[in-house]
């Protein structure tokens, strides 16, 4: 959102023994030198907090890929956008627990601003997709607690449907 993107896509896929997280935006992008420096934990562009020299988000992802034998990539082009991808083994001991996914996804959709965010979720043969624009259209806003609680309930129901599909597959 801070990269002035109008569309953000998040892919969250658990297939086979892999967990893939890919985030694509069409924001301002970065040149090759900035892409390189963004992976250094002691670098930040300093726009938001002048004088600060720490930027940990991307280095943490790299560290996680290293620790689990996974793979991390950061691709960007000025004026085009940025793609971050992390692929890690699903069952690796050093992979942090997934945690409360409906809450995390609800929080990711509720940052302020007028932008589209599409989340594509897949677990083996089952999946669902949510679009922020459609949700705003249905809920009216994503700022009030009432909307946020309903949104979390909606995503939790989608997540439960993945379990149902999995159970049906086993029964067959």
């Amino acid at each position: 959102m801070e990269a002035r993107s109008s569309t953000i896509r998040l892919y969250l896929e658990e297939t086979g023994d892999r967990l893939t997280v890919r985030l694509e935006d069409n924001g301002v992008g970065m040149d090759a030198e900035t892409v390189r420096r963004a992976q250094d934990p002691f670098y930040t562009d300093g726009v938001k907090h002048p004088g600060r020299a720490v930027g940990l988000g991307i280095p943490f992802l790299r560290q996680l890929a290293d620790a689990t034998g996974g793979r991390f990539s950061l691709e960007s082009a000025p004026g085009v956008g940025t793609t971050v991808e992390l692929v890690v083994p699903r069952e690796h001991l050093d992979l942090p627990p997934t945690g409360d996914l409906p809450t995390v996804l609800q929080q990711a959709l509720c940052y302020a601003g007028d932008y589209e965010m599409v989340i594509q979720r897949r677990r083996d043969t089952a999946g669902y997709q949510v679009s922020r624009r459609e949700l705003v259209e249905v809920l009216g806003d994503l700022e009030t607690v009432g909307s946020q609680a309903l949104l979390r309930e909606y995503i939790a129901a989608q997540e439960e449907s993945l379990d149902d599909t999995e159970a049906e597959t086993w029964q067959r």
Partner: protein, 135 residues
């Protein structure tokens, strides 16, 4: 269980809205702004944010706006949260765990009393810059 559709979600929203309008006719509400930079998240800001949404829902304060911003520059005091309630000074709270979040809902938002022991007073730069506040 059948998958919930957008149509089901719309029905639920309409039902909740009707219920809320009956209980809260004047609709005067508050703003909660949670700092969600990497350091905030590392300090537990996701749990804090969830605690605000859960407690405000439980207390039927569904018209309160809960927003997320990047770091407020107060890393030593994360998780940090700005609270704006009509007719009260805007404050930033520091070291807001899920328990303190519930205390803020009950004492500040419902009881109109500041939680003095957790106050750090500075505005949230992201939102001031976007001109979203009348300052």
């Amino acid at each position: 269980m059948a998958k919930m559709t957008l149509k089901d979600l719309r029905k639920l929203r309409d039902a909740k809205r009707q219920e809320m309008d009956m209980r809260n006719p004047d609709n005067k509400t508050a703003d909660v702004i949670v700092s969600m930079g990497t350091s905030g998240i590392a300090a537990g800001a996701k749990d804090t944010l969830k605690a605000f949404v859960d407690e405000l829902s439980a207390q039927d304060l569904t018209t309160v706006a809960v927003r997320q911003v990047g770091g407020m520059g107060l890393e030593h005091a994360e998780p940090t949260v700005e609270v704006r309630v009509p007719d009260m000074p805007a404050v930033i709270y520091g070291k807001v765990t899920a328990d303190i979040a519930r205390t803020i809902v009950r004492r500040h938002i419902m009881g109109k009393e500041l939680v003095n022991e957790h106050i750090f007073d500075r505005p949230a730069a992201d939102i001031v810059d976007e001109g979203k506040r009348g300052e």
